[in-house]
Symmetry: C2
Subunit: 328 residues, 2 copies
DNA sequence: CTGTTAGCGCCTTCAT
DNA sequence: ATGAAGGCGCTAACAG
C-alpha cells in the first residue's frame, strides 16, 4: 500500500506537507504542491480513509437511509440515487445504503462507528417517531420529505401543494367539472405527507374552482387495487371529468383498466399523472405529467448535507417547484 | 465517544483484554469476559470501525457494485438487496452501494482506500472487460451472474438453462406446438448471459420437443417495445401456441397488448413468465411463473463472500435451481 | 512557507 | 490468563 510517507519521501518533503497539499488547509508553495502531486500520481497514491477518519478528518461516505419493505418502490428511488451518487462523487464521497427497517438502531451504529459523514433520510412520515432520535445523534442530516415536526432537522421536498395545484388546474382548464384523485396504495394519507398534502390541497383547489372532488386510495397495489376504482372512473367518464394519478404504477394499472372498460383517456375524460419525465416512453398513449423533479431535490439535498459536513448550520424546510408537461 | 479504554477501565482490565474479548483470538477467563461484556453494555460501547480497520482488522462493510444507467431496473434488484442487507447484518456488516458506471475505477478506489472487506458484483456481462481488473484487485469478490471467463472469480446465478427448460416444458405440456420467447429489452442476447443462455436453451428444448420456436427481443421498453411483438402474438394466438416472457415489465405490457388486441391469455394461447413470487398479486389474471429465486442466490452469494473474507479460498460457479408455480 | 510531534482507537507481538 | 507497548496512516496543533 502506498502511503503519504512514501509520497513525502519521493517528493522530498515531510509527510505533513503531503497531508496539507491534499486538504489545502495551509498555504503551500506552488512548486512544492506540484512536486507532491506528481509524486502522488507516479505512485498511484490513494489516501487511506480509515486513517484519515481516525485522525479527525472526513470519512468520505454519506449514508442514505431507505425503507426496504414491501411497500417501498425502489424504482421510484432510482432517479434520486443516481443524482445523489453523482453529486457525492463530485465531492469525493461514496454512498452507503442503510436499510431503515431496523429502525434508528442501524443509523445509530453507523454514526457511532464513524462510518459516515452524514445521512440523507428518505420516506419521512408525517408523524415520524425516528426523527427525535436522529436529531439526537448530532450528525449532519437532511430529511427528504415533509413532516409535521422536523426537530430542527433541515428538510427538502418537492412542493406537493404545487403539484396538486398544477394537476387540478390542468384538469379544469381542459374542461373537467368533476375530478378524482387516485392516491398511493400502501401509503395511507395519514402517514405520508405527499398523499396528505397532495390530497388536501387538491380538494381545496377543487373547491375554490367550484368543481366536484373525490379522493381515492387503492387498497392494494396492482390490478386488484385499481379495480376498486372502476365505479369512480365510470362516473368520471360519464361527465367528461378529470383524473389525477399519484404514482406511475397506478397510472399503468389505470390505463389497463381503461382498455378493459372501453374508456378512452383524453377523450372520455382528462388525465394527469405524477411521474418523472421520460416515463412517457413506456406508455401506450401520451399522458400529461407533473415531474416531481427528484433530480433537483436530490441535488439540493446533497448540497445541504455537505454544507453541514463542512461546518455550516443548515435548518428549515425547502420546497422545489415541480414541472408540468402537456403531452396530449 | 466510548472507547475500548473506557470499557477497560470500568471492567478493571487492560484495553488489550477488551480487544481480545471481542475477537476471541486469545483465551479469556469466563469471569473477565463477563465483566467486560457488562461494561460494554453499560457504556453502550461501539467499536470504531476506522480504528479497527487501520489496525488490520475488518471494516465491517461489503460493497455491492450495481449499474445505475437507464437500462437498469432497480426494482428487479430489490429482492437481492433486501436479502444481502439482512445477511450482512447477521454477520455484523453493513452494505455499501457502489455505482458501476465509472467502470472499475470506483471499485479500485474503494479497495485501496480500505472501505470494504469485499464486493458483490451485479450485472455481469457475457464478455465483461471489468473482470480481469477486478481479479487483479485481490480482494474478496463474488460475481452474481454468468460470464464466459470469470478469471477465477467465484460466480453464482440462477440456472438459466433450467429456467428455459421449465418454461418450454410447461408450454408444451399445455399443448403448444409453437412457442415464442419474449426477451429483455436493452439487454441484447449477446451481452448478458441470461438472455443468451435462456434464449439458446429454449430453442434447443423446443427443437428436441419438436415445436416451433421464435425468439424476440423488444427494441425498447414499455408499450412501443411490446407493440413490435403484435404480429408474433397474433400468429401464436392463431395456433394456440405458447409465449414465455423474460421480465415482469414485458409481461405487464404484453397483457396490456392482449387486451388491446382482444386476445385472451390462457385461452387463445399459453403464457409463462419469469417473475418473483408475489408479483402475481399485481396482475389482472393469473400467470404461471418461474421464480428466479433472487433470495436464494443472494443468500449464497453473501455466504461465499464472507467465506473469503474469513480467509477461505472460494472458486467456481454455482447455479441455483429456479422454482415454477402453476397459477392458471 | 515547512518540519516535528502528538495523538485518533484498535490489534497484536512481546513479556510476564 | 493478562498487561504493556508499538504501530496502522493520517490530521492538526505546535514550533520554527
Amino acid at each position: 500500500m502506498v502511503t503519504a510517507k512514501d509520497v513525502a519521501k519521493r517528493a522530498g518533503v515531510s509527510q505533513a506537507t503531503v497531508s496539507y497539499v491534499m486538504s489545502g488547509s495551509r498555504p503551500i508553495s506552488e512548486a512544492t504542491k506540484k512536486r507532491v502531486r506528481e509524486a502522488m500520481d507516479e505512485l498511484g497514491y490513494v489516501p487511506n480513509i480509515n486513517a484519515r477518519s481516525l485522525a479527525g478528518g472526513k470519512v468520505g461516505v454519506i449514508g442514505v437511509l431507505v425503507r426496504m419493505d414491501e411497500n417501498t418502490d425502489l424504482a421510484e428511488l432510482r432517479p434520486f440515487l443516481v443524482v445523489i451518487m453523482e453529486e457525492a462523487r463530485k465531492r469525493g464521497s461514496s454512498v452507503m445504503l442503510v436499510p431503515a427497517d431496523e429502525g434508528i438502531e442501524g443509523l445509530r451504529r453507523m454514526a457511532r462507528q464513524g462510518l459516515v459523514d452524514g445521512v440523507l433520510v428518505f420516506d419521512i412520515e408525517w408523524h415520524d417517531d425516528r426523527l427525535e432520535g436522529i436529531a439526537d445523534l448530532k450528525i449532519p442530516v437532511v430529511l427528504i420529505g415533509t413532516t409535521e415536526n422536523s426537530y430542527g432537522l433541515p428538510c427538502i421536498d418537492v412542493d406537493y401543494r404545487r403539484v396538486a395545484q398544477l394537476a387540478v388546474n390542468r384538469l379544469v382548464e381542459e374542461g373537467a367539472h368533476k375530478i378524482a384523485v387516485i392516491g398511493d396504495w400502501g401509503r395511507s394519507s395519514d402517514r405520508f405527507a405527499f398523499s396528505k398534502l397532495f390530497g388536501s390541497e387538491a380538494r381545496v383547489v377543487a373547491q375554490v374552482l367550484g368543481v366536484g372532488f373525490e379522493l381515492f386510495i387503492p387498497p392494494e397495489r396492482g390490478w386488484r387495487g385499481i379495480w376498486a376504482v372502476k365505479d369512480i372512473l365510470l362516473d368520471i367518464a360519464k361527465c367528461h371529468g378529470g383524473v389525477a394519478v399519484r404514482t406511475p404504477h397506478a397510472l399503468q394499472s389505470l390505463l389497463e383498466l381503461c382498455v378493459e372498460l372501453g374508456i378512452r383517456p383524453g377523450k372520455d375524460f382528462y388525465l394527469v399523472a405524477v411521474y418523472v419525465d421520460g416515463f412517457e416512453d413506456t406508455l401506450r398513449i401520451p399522458v400529461d405529467n407533473i415531474d416531481p423533479v427528484p433530480d433537483l431535490v436530490s441535488r439540493q439535498a446533497v448540497a445541504m448535507l455537505f454544507d453541514q459536513i463542512d461546518g455550516q448550520v443548515v435548518t428549515g424546510s425547502r420546497f422545489v417547484a415541480p414541472r408540468i408537461t402537456v403531452r396530449s
